[in-house]
């Protein structure tokens, strides 16, 4: 009985150390991600995002993105990038690449004068 209890205690202590180590690693990761977020406001463009979302996230007019892809701008476009890529028989990565270039260009030469002042999110 005594031996059994000690075995349990040692296991609990080992588990505690392990849990603390893993928690520490996750805490560091959380901190680094938060810092990264503060440094780089921009989202990485993912296939699930719609063009209006990308335009909203990057603060560029949606028209810039539609023009870059050479497609029409329907009024309420919920299509994710992956669907747009499929419809136009283009690889998703290529579409994302085109969007990134268009965003960079638009920021260098904004279509309507200087870019709007940065708003906190």
């Amino acid at each position: 009985m005594m031996k059994r209890l000690n075995w349990k205690q040692w296991t609990a202590i080992a588990a505690l150390v392990l849990v603390l180590l893993v928690t520490g690693l996750f805490a560091v990761r959380t901190f680094r991600r938060a810092i990264y977020w503060r440094m780089h406001r921009d989202e990485v463009i993912r296939p699930w995002m719609s063009l209006p979302y990308v335009a909203h996230s990057y603060r560029v007019p949606p028209q810039v993105l539609y023009e870059a892809l050479n497609i029409e701008h329907p009024p309420r476009d919920r299509r994710p990038i992956r669907q747009i890529a499929k419809e136009h028989n283009r690889p998703v990565d290529e579409v994302i690449g085109t969007l990134n270039e268009a965003i960079a260009r638009s920021r260098q030469h904004p279509p309507n004068g200087p870019p709007s002042p940065e708003k906190s999110p």
């Binding site: 000690n6 296939p47 909203h56 919920r78």
Partner: protein, 208 residues
Amino acid sequence: MSLTDQLLAAISIYGLPALFAVIAIAAVGIPLPVTLALVAAGSFVELGEMRLWQVIIVGSSAAILGDQIGFVIGRWGGSRIETRLRKRKGGADKIARAHAFAARWGGTGIFLSRWLVTPLGPWLNLTSGMTDYPWRRFFVWDVLGETLWVVIYVLLGKFFSRSVQALVDVLGSLVWVLVGILVAAILFWWILKSLGNSPGKALRRRPA
């Protein structure tokens, strides 16, 4: 194309029904990226593609439904396991202790696992069912916790609508930090308690 991308694409195209399905399935215990789904829904609200109250109602009712399924599975499976355990030596004792623990800590556990330490949610649905936690109390805590969860994440998504993915990356690992702290606290408390109950035992075990 990752599962996450496919699910979010489905939510973007099909809207609330897809959101409902994803959240309900995840609440039963299938690991799906629900945090991202809710935060993304919040950003769709900001973009005017979804309405806030609809997202909150659909999201929380999906989670509540999934939780009830988990609870029923736990109760159904639990009664079978219990019959087996009772036949074993000391089995009845263990069952009584588990039931007492659930009666004392069940409500707090259910509530906190809905919105704070969310990875534990599906487990608590099962164990609450298994330990015969009163269904009405489970339901009340569940409704409160899940609604809070949906409101928090959707509003975060709405306010940080420009950086959904970055926000979810931070939240995703922050939740595991909270789970880790909770588990560490429980282990620490158990170790202290067991040392207190058996003073000197750890010392006596050392070889002379």
